[in-house]
Symmetry: C2
Subunit: 463 residues, 2 copies
C-alpha cells in the first residue's frame, strides 16, 4: 500500500558525529543500499555483520603521538583525537556511573562499532537508564567519499559558495567536476543525568575536508590536483543545560571552556559564547535551551573563506553586513587544531564535576516533574531547530538511532505551565495555574524554577 511514499528513496547520509549541529551531511546516492552509512534501512538489503558490540571503544591501535606530528595528515590527527577523546569521556562517565548514586542500578555502555562499505566507520557508545545517568550518548564517526556540489553547499552556512570559491566549474555545460572527494570526522555527545539538580550537557567537535579530484569529469587528469585539501574547516561547541540554576556551575563550565580557548586566542571565547547563545535559542518559546557555552562553525583560514582579511575571522553567528571580528593573532591550521583539542579536552573537567557534585542531591517527584518539563524543551530544540538533527531526519538511510539518542529517556509537556508557559503573563488560565502551583509547591521550589527560567529568557555573561 505504501509504495508511493518516499520511504523507498535511495538517498543516503553520512552521519558526522551523529549528534549535534551540522553533524549530518546528506547527498544523493547512486541507488545502492550500501551507500548508507553503516546499516541499511530494514526494507533494503540487510547488512547484518557490519556492526559489532564491545564493552568499550578499542583505542589500542591508536597512536597518540600523531596528535602533535605535523607530518601526519590532519584527517588522521583529528580522527585519532576524537577517538581518544571518546574513550576518555566514556571512561569518565562510566566511572561516575559505577561510583553509584542513591537511585537505580548502575548501567553499562552499549558500545557498537560500524563500518561504511564505501569508506568510513563509527563507534556509538550509549548508556541508558542508569543510576547516575538517564541517557549518555558518546559517538564518533569518520566518513569519506564523493559529494556532489549541491551537498557541499549544505555543509555549512558560510561555505555556501565554497565550491565556486575553490574555483572549479561544477554546474552547467562547462562543468569540470561533478563531485569532490570529501572527508569528515567528529565527536558528538549528549548526556542527561538522572538527578534533576545535575545539568545536561552537549558537546560536538568536527573537522571537514574537501579534496581536489584526481581526474576531471571528462576523465582527464586534473591539472590542479594536489595532496593538500582544497578546503578544510573545524566546527563545534560545548553547552550546558541545567534543570535548576546553580550559578557556580554555569560559571565553572564557562570558565573551564574560556581557559581552554584562551590558550590560543582570547578573542575566541567572547565571540563563540555569543554565537552559542544565538544558536541554542528556542524562538517559539522565547528562551534558550540552557546557559550556553561556546559554539562556532566554519573555522578556517581567510584564504578559503569569503572574508578578505589578513587575520582569521572570528564570527559570532550574527548575520550583520561585513560582520567579522578580527583576531589579532595570525593563526594557522595547527593553532586552530590546538584550540579544538583544548576545548574537547576541557569537557570532562568542565562537566563531570558538576554531575559528581549533584548526583546524590535529595529530590522529590516535584523536582522530577520540572526536570521532565525542561527535557521537553530539549526535545523541542533538537527536533525543531538543530541543524544536524534536521538533516539527519530528512535523510532515509541515516542511522536514526544515533541521531535521536540525543533525546532524553523521559519528557513532559504541561498546558499552561505557570513558570514557563509562553502565555503566562496575560492569560487567565495561566494565572489560575500559577495560583494552583503556588498552593501546591513550596516558595523555594517556585523561586528555583523562576531563577533558571530568568536566565534562559535573558542569557547572562557568566564571567
Amino acid at each position: 500500500m505504501r509504495n508511493n511514499t518516499p520511504r523507498h528513496t535511495f538517498s543516503t547520509a553520512m552521519v558526522i558525529g551523529t549528534l549535534g549541529v551540522a553533524a549530518v551531511v546528506t547527498f544523493a546516492a547512486k541507488g545502492a543500499c550500501g551507500e548508507g552509512i553503516a546499516e541499511c534501512d530494514a526494507q533494503k538489503t540487510p547488512m547484518t555483520g557490519l556492526t559489532k558490540l564491545s564493552s568499550k571503544p578499542d583505542v589500542s591501535k591508536l597512536d597518540a603521538a600523531v596528535l602533535d606530528d605535523q607530518n601526519v595528515p590532519m584527517r588522521k590527527r583529528m580522527e585519532t583525537f576524537v577517538k581518544l577523546l571518546q574513550s576518555r569521556i566514556v571512561d569518565a562517565v562510566a566511572r561516575e556511573e559505577s561510583s553509584g548514586s542513591t537511585e537505580g542500578r548502575p548501567s553499562e555502555f552499549l558500545v557498537e562499532s560500524w563500518e561504511r562499505k564505501e569508506g568510513g566507520e563509527g563507534i556509538s557508545c550509549v548508556l541508558q537508564d542508569g543510576s547516575v545517568f538517564e541517557k549518555a550518548g558518546i559517538n564518533v564517526s569518520v566518513v569519506y567519499g564523493a559529494l556532489p556540489p549541491s551537498a557541499i553547499r549544505q555543509m555549512s552556512a558560510d561555505h555556501g559558495g565554497l565550491v565556486e570559491r575553490i574555483g572549479y566549474e561544477t554546474e552547467g555545460p562547462n562543468a569540470e567536476v561533478d563531485s569532490m572527494p570529501f572527508f569528515a570526522t567528529g565527536i558528538s555527545i549528549v548526556i542527561h543525568p538522572r538527578n534533576p539538580f545535575a545539568p545536561t550537557s552537549h558537546m560536538n567537535y568536527r573537522y571537514f575536508e574537501l579534496a581536489h579530484p584526481k581526474t576531471l569529469k571528462d576523465g582527464s587528469p586534473n591539472p590542479r590536483y594536489s595532496e593538500e585539501p582544497a578546503a578544510w574547516w573545524f566546527g563545534g561547541g560545548s553547552d550546558l543545560t541545567p534543570i535548576y540554576l546553580f550559578e557556580e556551575d554555569a560559571r565553572h563550565f564557562h570558565k573551564t571552556l574560556k581557559d581552554a580557548a584562551d590558550t590560543e586566542d582570547p578573542t575566541f571565547y567572547p565571540a563563540w559564547k555569543k554565537w552559542c547563545d544565538k544558536y541554542f535559542w528556542l524562538n517559539h518559546r522565547n528562551e534558550s535551551r540552557g546557559v550556553g557555552g561556546v559554539f562556532f562553525d566554519d573555522l578556517t583560514l581567510p584564504a578559503i573563506t569569503s572574508f578578505k582579511t589578513t587575520y582569521i575571522p572570528v564570527l559570532d553567528g550574527e548575520k550583520r553586513k561585513n560582520q567579522v571580528l578580527l583576531s589579532e593573532k595570525q593563526h594557522d591550521r595547527e593553532s586552530l587544531f590546538r584550540t579544538v583539542r583544548a576545548l574537547g579536552n576541557a569537557f570532562v573537567d568542565a562537566y563531570i564535576p558538576l554531575v559528581h557534585a549533584r548526583k546524590d542531591t535529595p529530590h522529590t517527584d516535584v523536582h522530577k516533574e520540572w526536570q521532565r518539563l525542561r527535557r521537553g524543551r530539549y526535545v523541542e530544540f533538537n527536533l525543531i531547530y538543530d541543524r544536524g538533527t534536521k538533516f539527519g531526519l530528512m535523510t532515509p538511510g541515516a542511522r536514526m538511532e544515533s541521531i535521536l539518542m540525543s533525546l532524553p529517556l523521559h519528557a513532559r509537556w504541561e498546558y499552561m505551565e505557570s513558570t514557563t508557559g509562553t502565555g503566562r503573563h496575560n492569560s487567565s488560565a495561566a494565572l489560575r495555574a500559577k495560583a494552583e502551583d503556588e498552593a501546591q509547591y513550596s516558595a523555594e521550589e517556585m523561586e528555583a524554577r523562576r531563577a533558571i527560567q530568568a536566565v534562559l529568557e535573558q542569557p547572562v555573561d557568566w564571567l
Copy 2:
C-alpha cells in the same frame, strides 16, 4: 544581550483551530502587538483581560437552526457548527472523565475564551492529568482580517496560485490589491487517554474564505466587489493512534467515518483514507503515526481550483501528474458542508466508545513504558511534520500553548528499542536489546508490541 535575536520580530499569526494540519496561517504584521491572535508575547504589550475562564464553553447564544439555513453566510454556519460540536465533545469527554477510572482523580476542563482585537475569537478547552484522560485539548477559533498574497499562498498546497487564479494583480507595479479579506474557522482536537489500551485520537475540521476587497490598492472602488467569497474551501480529518492494536477498534473508527462520509459520496472515504495514511507518515521512522482515518484539504468546487473538471475533484494527497479522482456526483457547497458536518459529528461515536471500553483495562508499568514510547513518536510527528504545528512554531506571537497542547503529558525515547528501533534488523546492539526485552517481557507483551508495529509500518485497509 538578546536584542539581535529574531524573537522581537513583530510578525504575527492567526491560529485556525490551533491544532492539526494547516491550522495556522502566518502573515506579516504592521508592527503592532495587537495583531496577535489573542495574547501578545510577554515582551510586547501585555493584553491581560482579553481572556476569560469559565467551566464550559458558552453556547447559549448560538442558534442551531442556522446550520441548515442556506440564507445564512457559510462563515456563520461553520462557526456555529464548530462551536456546537466543541461543546458536545467537551461534554462527552467530561462525562467519560467524571465517570471515573481506577486511576487518579477526575480532572476538569480549563476553558479559556479569548478575543482577537482586530477580529475573531477562540475557545480553548484543555483537560490535563485526569483519571481517564492524560491530556484532552478541544479548541475552536474564528479569525478574520486582511492577508497579504504571500500569506494566502501558504494556506494550502493546492491553493498556491489561488490569488492569481482569482484574478487580481497582487504584486509588481500594476498590483491592484495588496491584501485580501480573509476568514477562517475551525475545530481542533487531540485526546490522549491515560490507559495504555485506550487509543489517542486527533480531529480537525476547518473552513476558509477569501473575499473580494471593497476597494483596490489605490483607494478606488473594486468593480468586481461582491458579497460572495472570491474563494472558499474546507479541510480536515480524523485519525486514531492506538498504543496496542485492537483490530475491532480500528474497524469501528474507520467504519463510523466511512458511514458518515458515504451519506454524501462513496468516493470520499477511499480517497481520504489513503490521503490520511500518506499525511501521517513518519518518514524517518518508516512508520505511520497511527491506524489512520480520513484526511483532506482544498475541498471546494472545480471553478476555483486549478483542476478543469466538471465534477468535484476528490484528491487523495498524491502528487501525481493529472491525478484527480472524480466523484460521480455533482456537489455544491451545501453537500460539502454536510460532509464536513457528518464527519465532525461522527467523532464522538467513532472514538469515545473506544476509550470507554478500554479505560479500566488492567495494566502494568511495562504497558505504560510502551505507551510513553509511542507518545514519543507522536511528539516527533507533530514537531517535525505537522504543517499546522510547524507554521505556528515559526510564528512569534502565536498562542504556543494552544499549538503545543497536542503534545502528550509524558513521552519516552529509548535507544535501540527492540520492537521499533529503526536499525533493529541489522544492528548487534539492537539484537542484544531484543534478547534482553524477550527475557524481561512476556511473550504476549512482545507479540502485542509487534502487532501494532506491523500495522504502523504497513497501513491496512480496515474495511
